[in-house]
């Protein structure tokens, strides 16, 4: 079975649906997740972040292998998911009801 992430990060496979290429889609994923789901993702990915960065640092940005690219996407997702877990205790930014703030341009990974 093809895997999403490098072999050393097989433990993150259950969270392969967080390997999302754009911030806009990562933010949408956060808003459509429950706090339990966000907490589970954070609890699995956060402790592996040092390992992941050490692994990813072997490559320059323009020669990331596909599985490494997925791993970086996942950690970009962790940045987005960290706010509900560490700060808000809810997926949305509190008191942000009517406002939107959408990425219209972002560098591809």
């Amino acid at each position: 079975m093809p895997t999403t992430f490098p072999a050393a990060f097989a433990d993150l496979e259950p969270f392969a649906d967080w390997a999302i290429p754009t911030e806009r889609a990562r933010f949408a994923k956060r808003l459509s997740s429950t706090m339990d789901e966000l907490q589970a993702f954070y609890d699995a990915a956060f402790p592996r972040m040092d390992d992941a960065l050490a692994y990813l640092e072997q490559f320059s940005m323009d020669e990331l292998p596909e599985d490494a690219t997925h791993l970086l996407w996942l950690y970009c997702g962790l940045m987005t998911a960290s706010f509900p877990v560490e700060v808000w205790r809810q997926p949305r930014v509190p008191d942000s009801g009517a406002s939107s703030f959408d990425a219209v341009l972002e560098p591809a990974i």
């Binding site: 911030e23 490494a68 939107s100 219209v104 341009l105």
Partner: protein, 429 residues
């Protein structure tokens, strides 16, 4: 006792006596009539930043800019002579919008060898000259030379492209931008080519969002929860004081410190994800080398060692934020009515060399987004209550809100002076 020294007059505001210190009216932010007058007096005749030269990488690169506040659309292009030029985005034949794709109201960009009107196929080269008229022989004494695109005054400062929509404007860009721009020259903006741009439709007058971003008095309160609890409490108790404020003609700037330090002096003051990614609101903690040996003179005017950020407002709607760890944000506020505008926030970083740097940038960008979402909603709440015209008519502004006082006064002055000038000029019949 202030945390940081203030001018001899005792306050930043009184250092600029024209500003006054009394409560201010916000009638200028809730009136369709005032907005219509601002469109004529401000957006149709001041220098406006519409982009950067990196958006026009080669001959034929172009982008369009919708400037609803000036009731127009322009196309900006790198010409055959390798110059940045701009034209009103209108076909000379019968007024069709020349460059657009799918939806005429949406901005577009690309690369082309010439512009061709979708309607009747008239063509214009990159210098704006009309080069082809469909069935030219059907016209009466038509000379293509007379039907070039209408040019827009364009100039470039440190890679930022500005236009002035008033054909009679005689103020050169650098003179308009004044001492702040002069004092920023040499900053390596061109090194910061990694770009993240955000856009929001905001339900408030354009000046209200500038207000929100030119004072940090709100930060320890509105954004309290974004800091870890101890730090948040400390910041709220201390309140906010800037290192310095300066005003130059219609423009203003605020110089501020970082709160926690970059990198933070005490890791207990920052969230776990920030410690892991070595990044946060003030940007990646490990500043990239962008060839900046010393700060240009306009930055950190107080010369304070805790300096973290300078925010410049170039009137009317362009803000430039230069952060200590060698990155930049720009804000643009494009009015679409008296109580709505489009906000654009763009983050510029040095290209990341590896995933660690990319991730640090990502955290800075998404942190910016979390703050902006809080700011955006507050604005609609303010706009709606100002519009309710409750008996409350005037609002006190404190010394940390000096730039708000200056912005509203400046906008009102532009309208007044433009209308005085208009009434002196005999109307053309």
């Amino acid at each position: 006792m202030p945390l940081f020294p203030k001018p001899a007059e005792g306050s930043w505001t009184e250092h600029y006596p024209d500003l006054g210190t009394g409560p201010v009216s916000y009638e200028d932010s809730i009136s369709p009539d005032v907005y219509e007058r601002e469109r004529d007096a401000i957006f149709s005749r001041t220098w406006l930043n519409v982009g950067r030269v990196e958006q026009l990488r080669r001959v034929g690169s172009y982008f369009t800019k919708e400037i609803d506040a000036a009731r127009t659309s322009i196309v900006v292009v790198r010409s055959s002579a390798d110059e940045v030029r701009a034209f009103f985005n209108i076909c000379r034949h019968r007024g069709n919008k020349l460059v657009w794709s799918d939806y005429p109201g949406e901005e577009t960009s690309g690369v082309c060898r010439q512009f061709t009107c979708k309607y009747h196929g008239w063509r214009y080269n990159l210098e704006g000259e009309c080069t082809f008229v469909q069935q030219e022989e059907e016209f009466f004494d038509l000379d293509k030379q007379d039907y070039g695109l209408a040019p827009v005054q364009t100039d470039v400062w440190e890679g930022f492209i500005f236009v002035n929509l008033d054909p009679t404007n005689t103020t050169p860009l650098r003179e308009y931008l004044g001492t702040f721009a002069k004092g920023l020259e040499g900053y390596p903006f061109h090194q910061l080519t990694q770009v993240h741009r955000y856009r929001a439709d905001v339900g408030s007058n354009w000046k209200l969002f500038i207000d929100a971003f030119t004072e940090f008095y709100h930060a320890p309160v509105l954004h309290a929860k974004q800091s870890v609890a101890d730090q948040s409490q400390k910041l709220t108790t201390m309140g906010y004081e800037a290192l310095a404020y300066e005003i130059d003609g219609p423009h203003g700037m605020v110089s501020t410190w970082t709160g926690t330090g970059v990198p933070p002096k005490d890791m207990r003051h920052v969230k776990p994800i920030e410690q892991k990614a070595r990044s946060g609101l003030f940007g990646p903690w490990d500043a990239p080398d962008i060839g900046l040996d010393e700060l240009p003179p306009a930055l950190n005017p107080a010369g304070h060692k805790a300096w973290g950020l300078d925010s410049f407002l170039f009137f009317p709607n362009f803000m430039l934020l230069i952060w200590k760890p060698n990155w930049v944000i720009t804000y643009h506020y494009w009015p679409t009515s008296y109580n709505t505008h489009i906000f654009e926030g763009t983050c510029y970083f040095a290209p990341p060399k590896n995933a660690r740097e990319r991730l640090a940038q990502e955290l800075a960008v998404v942190t910016f987004k979390e703050y902006a979402l809080q700011d955006g909603n507050t604005l609609e709440a303010t706009q709606s209550m100002l519009e309710s015209r409750t008996p409350v008519k005037a609002f006190p502004l404190n010394d940390q809100e000096i730039l708000l006082r200056h912005l509203h006064k400046t906008a009102q002055r532009y309208v007044r002076e433009h209308e005085q000038q208009d009434s002196r000029t005999p109307a053309a019949v």
